[in-house]
Amino acid sequence: MKAILKIALGIIAAIGGFLDIGDLVFTTQAGALFRYDLLWAVVLGVIGIAVYAEMSGRVAAVSGRPVFDVIRMRMGFGMGLLALVASTIVNVLTLAAELGGIAIVLELLFDAPYAMFVVAAAIALVGIVALLPFGGIERFFGYGGLLLFVVVATVFHQNPDWGEVGRGFIPSIDSSTLYLYFVVGVFAAALMPYEVHFYSSGAIEEGWTEENLKENRLNAIIGYGIGGILAVGLVIVSGFLFHPLGVEPDNLGTVALPMQGAFGETGLLLALGGMLFCVGGAAIDSSFAASYNLAQFLGWEWGRYQGPRKAPRFTASWLVFLLLGIAIAQSGINPVDITEYSVVLAVVALPLTYLPVLLIAGDRSFMDRYANGPIATTLGWLYFAVIVVLALAAIPLLLATNAGGG
């Protein structure tokens, strides 16, 4: 029993930072616009990140190579540099959106200006990173994110038409460009690359070996499964409340309204608290991912476990990225708008970082007997096809729908 609890807690810690402002925004908007019709896209995205993360974690544990090591080694300098530049831009934009998201939630809880909260959030993050060990950081945000289970409670409180909900899990393609845009958006928000890059580097921070492969698989399936349940819940509560009223959730605060409706102030506080930890965890993950990728590509010493003295360039780059994120978050652009772009750009850049991992994970000369089996190979290539299609469609759809504005 104790072992199960330990594993469960480990899983939860591992996936903190998965549900980020992108998921909060896109799921709520998807529910408001299309009720339950996009639930299948959420599930598709969640399975996708489980596949990508499992492969990355396995590669890291068996070969000691995190994602950008794999990318540089397999794709060479030129293509690797392209992947690095694209990935860095996406990560910095994501970080800015998350910092802005933290500030918005704080503004909803306390009476003080947004700008102040952005800086306060950054300082708090630096403090948390400086004071807690790597595992502690993960646990802090992972457990806090569990507050968001009030969403699941809200679903049952609302008691929607379960038949209708069930039909939402069956894929259907509406021809409207807005629908297709949200298919891409919901999927991409679930399959954010920073999460996987952070996860694979985290595996090495924690000194994973072949013995951790089972843990890796549990994290991928159960961990992201839990995240997926929350994402599905967000679509349902939003679809139930907002769709009939025609509400357009353009604000982050709107995400918490269904929980307020169901459970009053308690529901609201649990929802906002959960959102705070989720977005905070995502800020950590995306900022670290940016530094991990840069350091790994260039061959610098890296890792939170090394400490600032042994990995000074890695540490300095993390601070620089944090400052860039603050600057963008303060620039007056609505974080929700930044999110629309960071999510879309993420899926456009995704093939570049996904393919090398897929190739190495299936390569016996690197992975020995831990190379992709038939299931992993099939899923891996299937998802590569899906990702490429969505990557090509993403920008045209973004432009055609005016970033979901219709």
Partner: protein, 151 residues
Amino acid sequence: MIASGRKRARSAALAVLAALAIAFSGCGDLSNDELNRGVESLSALAAQGELVANGVARDATKTTYARAMARTLSEQAEHEAEKLADATLEEPETDDQRHAAVAVAEEIAGLLSTLQTFPGDEHHAELVEKHLGEAGEKADAIVAQLSGDAP
């Protein structure tokens, strides 16, 4: 502080387009569809405002949350009002609806502003909720008229 970036960006984009249109004379006015869209968003704002007001009326929410939400929604309604008021219409027959829409937008902005000022007052919130409901219905009526006018 947190203006609705997307609506603002759209207003800005429309303003730029309008300016270019004036320079190149004649085209780029607010089409019937866009007017429709604008009024629909008013209905959405009113609906969301109702939910927030309802929370205050039942004493089932946090005042900072209600205030911040009311402020944001009010600003969005105000922007929509400005956008509708500034635009030149493609179909001048819809001018009546446009004026009505601006009035509704102003009304919604005002009601939300009241909620922003009194985020803990249950009595005020009840009234705001009721009036927002009415304003939302007015917006829906305008949309219906516009759709009826559409060829």
